[in-house]
Structures are given as structure tokens and as C-alpha cells.
Symmetry: C3
């Protein structure tokens, strides 16, 4: 699993279908470090000095348990609160449940996951599979508004056996007027070769509504982003609300049907994109070389003030 | 049906699958009273002096008709406008169609429902089943902005035969910076015992965008909140847009996989939750007793100013 | 296909199921004129002097290619950028990719579409079918904020073989506090006879969040708006987020189960509807005559200031 290596899990580096999933019900333990970063930011990292904004993508297979020893190296109260998975009140990450790290404190948070289970009426209570996320819930306010504003967030994926694994993986966090706490032209440029299977994990935070748009690629608005069969009724979209606390993910084949080039992803709220909520998805040629015109587009992007002209 | 008793329908009090549904096409009649309440609020109630904010949950089985005699006991123009069901223009509840109650007036509104019907191309025109809502459409403005702002709203559920009935039912209305026209710590504390099947009916109103988040529970983003089969492609979520005029509902098993405790539900727009758009979902032990730590969490909630600190 | 005639395609005028689709993989060429309009607006049109706000609905069958010669008759930089379909970087419509029309310039944009294709894990990469839209991406800012604000937008439908064709088709663009750049009572009044199959194409633009609500009609929140089978788990709704860059569409039978009359469609954000984001859907009697009370409702609508009263 791609991001698995970041968690210390040995996984195949190539695209595989879920048969490669480890045995169900495995418990893994990681240490996560919350650290102060330049510019007043904070981040989570898997080793001391490696905190990033956003934090590392954490992945689980349905049925697995993840034990996280969170080391708070900062002088602020903070925590880690996950979406989508199971946790007891003492792993809630909220001051309400007295679940947070004081400055300097290390605390264990336990996240469990499960497969869907039959219910009455031929229905199934949902399992944990999904494109989720985690974030601070204690810095600044009891809802972690300070921590979220300063970068304490990241992607969390729970996969179902049989899910397809990507070759590239990108995390996009829309937060107020920024992407991953950055403004264009300093926003991330994601890169893949034409034909590679890439995975976007999109997360909304903060106080404003946003819509995520990706040029020249589209996805099914369901759990995987792909149609699950010829009769799957799901809408296919290329623009989706990414409002505070929501997340979604999807896989696309880079440049499929459109070719290599520099494709924008951006918030489609017009004054947000004009204000700098835009980044680049560089699809290289299949051999990894830069396609014609790509450097010129990148230069244009970097030279542009992203203001009304 | 749980809320059915509130409508004068004799229904089983325990969880049953839809076999317990009454005969299709039944017509029921209720009287609803619109009343002024303390604090400048208004509410709907099923008997004089029993108006609440939100109003009672009204329920129908697909195919049923509900006749509502709305008694306007106030000195304001008002009405009742439903989402999801069928009604003629004279039951539209809008001043546009001259469909409202003058002060002191009683007026009958008729809501019909239907099952889905085959269309060309092996498709089906949707039936009425859904988690809907009703609200005033005449007080203050021709869109009922005054009535909605002051509490004239409630949940409306149309069930399909075979649907599972809940043991507990909670209505959550996000309206501007409030939940059910209240601000924390005065927001509703919903209660259930570990293992009970609870149903959330979530409704958005007013002028601001919101997102509803429930801690430690998740649901499928489809009609029922449960997966409708092993191949159901629906996304599973725990955070969803709850913007003006929208509604959704879902059932979860209280504390399933996470245990009893005090779980927050809140708007995930950070300054909304900080401002008091947060309430508690108390999951008691299976025997109804209070779990360890719950009282301390409740006390913390009530002592908290819900402002930035 | 209804709007097909607007594109110079000979198609049946009556409702047909997709067997009437032309051969897959057809390439069509149209000329589109971007023109200045009174009141500072701009529009796209299929012939000189025929630009409208919104522009014409463009339609394709999955597999088709559309070549658009865009004639810029204005003194502004502008372009056309589609959602949902395939295009190379030189048809991106963005200044980033040097893809726009200078004043007076004619430029060809090529949009391709495709059917869904099998992927690993019994999944399918999504095809192009959907209710999409197109808009300027170059006027005013690098994101076309000026062009979108002034009317350079329209609907784009890619149909799958087997899709049902409508008898009437309406485009609704929510943009800031306007519908199709108009405010009530000057918003569009859509008309159909009771029983006709009508199609709504809903598009969001600008800088504000909106929700689209249609009185007395509902749709499935999936690709077609209809349930795709008895086990389709999709939510049925009558109110949906219509935020910048998003689009959706659905078909309903005019007045089905509710009868003829004047039905509102409006933004459900209360101060938006109060401010004039409301229009009328006039369902005539089956013979086309005006139903009782309809003229009075229309008169009420036109006499109303749409302000708080």
C-alpha cells in the first residue's frame, strides 16, 4: 500500500488489487509527533523533525486497529481526532472527554475499524471503508479551531478488501482561502506520468464553503470514485462541495483520454480561485519527460499574481 | 411506528420491520396548532398548548395521505409547506398560491405520497420515501423567513414498506448559528442505551451553510443510511452538508463498536461549533445507567462558554 | 434530441428512448458566437446576433466528439471551458494553457466523450455521461470570473445510450443573488403541459453557496434523477446544493401526482429567495390551457417586490 510505508508497514510498491491486503484484524502501532513548524504552523509527522502540513496519510484495512502514540512536542494543548473509524471516549481527541495531550505529553489513541454487518430488512450497517481524515480537536478552542487553522490535519483511508491501490497519492486540504495552508503559486504541484493510477484525498476545513474542481478528469460520486458495475446509478462529477469536516477521495488515470499536460485543480468559488486557491496537476509523458508546453504553463502559473487583472 | 403515536396512529412500540406497516393508501387526519411560544418563538404542536421547536415528527408510509387541519392561534400570517410529498397548489403553503392561514384561521392542507412507478428505459420515477421536513412559508416574507427563523419547522418521514423502524428518534435543525433554535449548552442532549437503534433527522434552514458531524458513528449517504446490499456503492460518511432547505436522515446503533459515553454532534464549520452549534448524544450503558466519566463530560459541557479560549 | 436541433442535428422531436441515438463516435462541428449583450452582459449563441444568457444547451452521446469554432465578437479576452468531457490542453479554455480567444479571434475547441471502461476489481472508470456545463475561463481573471459574472455559461449534457429524452428542457443557473443573471419577477417562467417529461439542468456559479428547491416535484440524487431499478439505494430529494462549479440534472413529469398550477423553484437560502432568487414553473392543463388560479398567482408574482414585508 502506497502510504503504508510511511507507517512502517511493508507493502508492495506496485498497483495491486486487495488480495495483497494483510490478514484482517491486525493491530499496528505508530508514533506520531506533533511539532511546531516555521511560520506559526504546526504539523504531524511519523518521526521527530518530519512533521508536515498536511500530515502523513494513514491507512487501514477494514478490520484493522491502529494504535497511535501521539507525542506533543509543542507548548500547546492538542489532540488527534479521526473521522470514520471506531474509538472509545478516551480516544475521542476532545476536551469534552478529557482526551487530549497537554504540552509535552504523550498519549495513546486507539482507532479500530470494521467490515459492514448485516442488519434487518436485507440491509447492512456500514463498515469503516472510506476516504476519511484526522485533525486536532483541542488547540485554541474545544473544537481545535486553532490547530486546524495552523496545519494539524491529514488524510485517513480505510480500504475494503478488493480495493484497487494507487501508484500516486495526493492530499488536498481546502481551508479558508488556502490549499494545504498555502496560496498560489506556492500550492502543491502534484505529478504523475500519463497512465498512472493516482488517488486524490480531498478534505475540507475551516469556516468557509468550497468546491473542489479538477480539470480534464472526472470521478463517480461514490465510495471509490469508480463505477461499481454497469448498473451503478452514481452521478459522475468533476466538481464537489468540500465544506468543513467533509472528505472524499477518488482514483483517476492521469491524463486518460486527454493526454499529458498541466491541469489545474482549484476551488470553483470564483473569488477563492482568483485569490489563490489553485494548484497544478502535472501529467508527464509516459516516460516521465515533460510534455510540450508544460514548462511554459508552469512559468505562467508562477509569474501570475492570481488577482483580478 | 415510533412517532406515529404522536399522530394518533396505533403502532408497535418496539423495533419492527415494515410488515407492520398499515394498509397502503390509508388517509389519516391530524390537527396541528401553530402557537406563539416564550422568547418570541413559534411552534407547531399536535394539541393546544403543546407546540414545540422543532414541531412533532410526522410520518407516512408510501401511498398514504395525511390531512392536516392547521389551526393558527397566532396574530401572524403563517402556513405549513412540506418537502417530498405530493400536494395541490391549494396545499402549497405559499402566498404565491394564496395558500396560508390568516391570524386565527384554520385551514386544511393535504399531503399525499406514492410508491415509485416504472418509466421507460427500465427506470423508475421516484416515490415519496425519504427523510423530509415541513416548515412555514408565509410568516414575515413570502418565503416564510420569519416563521422558519422563529421555530416553525419539523421533520417529515415517508417510509417504504420494509423499512426498519427505530427505537429512538432525534430531530436536529441547523439554523443560522443555532441547533433547534438553541445555543450550547442549551442544545438538546439526545439519549439512548448502548445497542438501541436510533434515527437522526437532520434539517437545514436559514441563510448560512452548515455541515453536520456526529462523533464515533457513521452512515451511508443514501436513502436509509444503511447499505442496501453488499454491492451498494454509496459513500459512507460522518459529516454532511446541511444547507438551507435540505434534509437527510439515517439510523445508527448507539455506541456500536465504540461503547457508551458522551458523543458530540456539531456543525463542523469551526466558528459555528465554537459559537455553540454543538450538542450531546449520551449513549448510556445497556441497562440505562450512566457510563463512567459521562457526568463529568456533561458537567464540562455545561460549564463551557463555547467561545475561543 | 430536444436541444439537438439547436446544434444543427436532425433529431426526433418526440420523446424517444436512446435507440434513437446516432452512431457512436460521430464528430459534429458547430460555430459558437460570443457576443456583447445589452446591460453589460455577454452571451454565447449558435448564430450571429443570437447569443443568450444562459447559452444554448449542448448535447452529446457518449463516444461523440464536438468541435466548436468559437468566434469572439467582443473586445474582451474570453474562452469556453467544459466540465465532464475530454479535451487536450489546447482546448482547456484557460490562460494557464494559453487557450483562449483574443478580441476578434476565432479558435477551435475540441470536446471528446467516452463510455465507461472496465478497470481492475470489477470496477469501471466513469464515462462522460452527465449533466455538465460550460463557461468562460478567461474574461476578467484567469478563472473567467468576469465572463461568468456577465453571462458566459450554459448547459452541456452527455447522454448514455438508453437514456430517456425529455419534451421540455430548462436551464437554471444560480449565480450570486440571481437566476440566469436575473432577479424576480424577471426570472424565467418555465412552462410545460401536465404530463410532459421535463428536464432541469441546474448549474451553480459565482461566489456564494446556494440550494435549489423545486415545489411539488422530486428526483433521485443520481446520474439521471430517476431510480435505476427497484434496488437503487439513492436518496430522493427536492432540494440540493448548487454551489459554484457544480451542476446536476433530472427529469420529472410535470404536475405528476400534484396537478397543474404555478410552482415555485427557488434558492432555499432564505435571504436569497427573499431577495429575488425565485422563478415559476407553470404546469398547464394537459391541453395547454391555463389552470384555474394560475393567472392570479402569476400576477401576484409580478406585483411582488420580493422583499421582507
Amino acid at each position: 500500500m502506497l502510504a503504508g510505508t510511511a507507517m512502517g508497514i511493508t507493502v508492495p510498491a506496485v498497483v495491486t488489487v486487495g488480495g495483497a491486503a494483510p490478514t484482517a484484524g491486525v493491530t499496528r502501532r505508530i508514533t506520531l509527533y506533533a511539532e511546531a513548524l516555521p511560520g506559526g504552523l504546526f504539523g504531524y509527522g511519523l518521526a521527530p523533525g518530519q512533521a508536515t502540513v498536511p500530515g502523513p496519510v494513514l491507512e487501514m484495512w477494514e478490520g484493522d486497529t491502529l494504535e497511535i502514540d501521539l507525542v506533543n512536542t509543542t507548548n500547546q494543548r492538542l489532540s488527534i481526532h479521526p473521522h470514520g473509524v471506531d474509538y472509545s471516549v478516551d480516544s475521542d481527541g476532545s476536551p469534552l472527554n478529557d482526551s487530549f495531550n497537554d504540552p509535552g505529553e504523550t498519549r495513546r489513541y486507539v482507532w479500530r475499524s470494521r467490515e459492514s454487518a448485516p442488519a434487518a430488512g436485507r440491509r447492512f450497517m456500514p463498515g469503516s471503508a472510506g476516504y476519511w481524515h484526522y485533525h486536532d480537536h483541542a488547540m485554541g478552542t474545544d473544537h481545535g479551531t486553532g490547530g486546524v487553522a495552523k496545519g494539524l490535519y491529514g488524510g485517513l483511508i480505510v480500504r475494503r478488501r478488493g480495493d484497487i491501490l494507487p501508484e500516486r497519492q495526493f492530499t488536498v486540504v481546502f481551508h479558508d482561502m488556502m490549499i494545504n495552508n498555502r496560496v498560489a503559486p506556492n500550492t502543491p504541484m502534484f505529478e504523475a506520468n500519463q497512465g498512472q493510477r493516482v488517488e486524490f484525498i480531498c478534505i475540507g476545513h475551516g469556516g468557509l464553503p468550497h468546491t473542489f474542481h479538477l480539470h480534464a478528469h472526472r470521478w463517480a460520486d461514490n465510495r471509490t470514485g469508480m463505477l461499481e458495475g454497469p448498473a451503478d446509478p452514481t452521478s459522475v462529477i468533476d466538481n464537489k462541495n468540500l465544506d468543513p469536516g467533509s472528505s472524499f477521495g477518488f482514483q483517476v488515470i492521469a491524463g486518460e483520454g486527454v493526454g499529458p499536460g498541466v491541469w489545474m485543480y482549484h476551488c470553483h468559488v470564483q473569488f477563492h480561485s482568483d485569490g489563490g486557491m489553485v494548484g497544478l496537476f502535472l501529467v508527464r509523458n509516459p516516460d516521465g519527460s515533460l510534455p510540450d508546453g508544460a514548462q511554459a504553463a508552469i512559468d505562467r502559473f508562477h509569474g501570475h499574481a492570481h488577482e483580478h487583472n
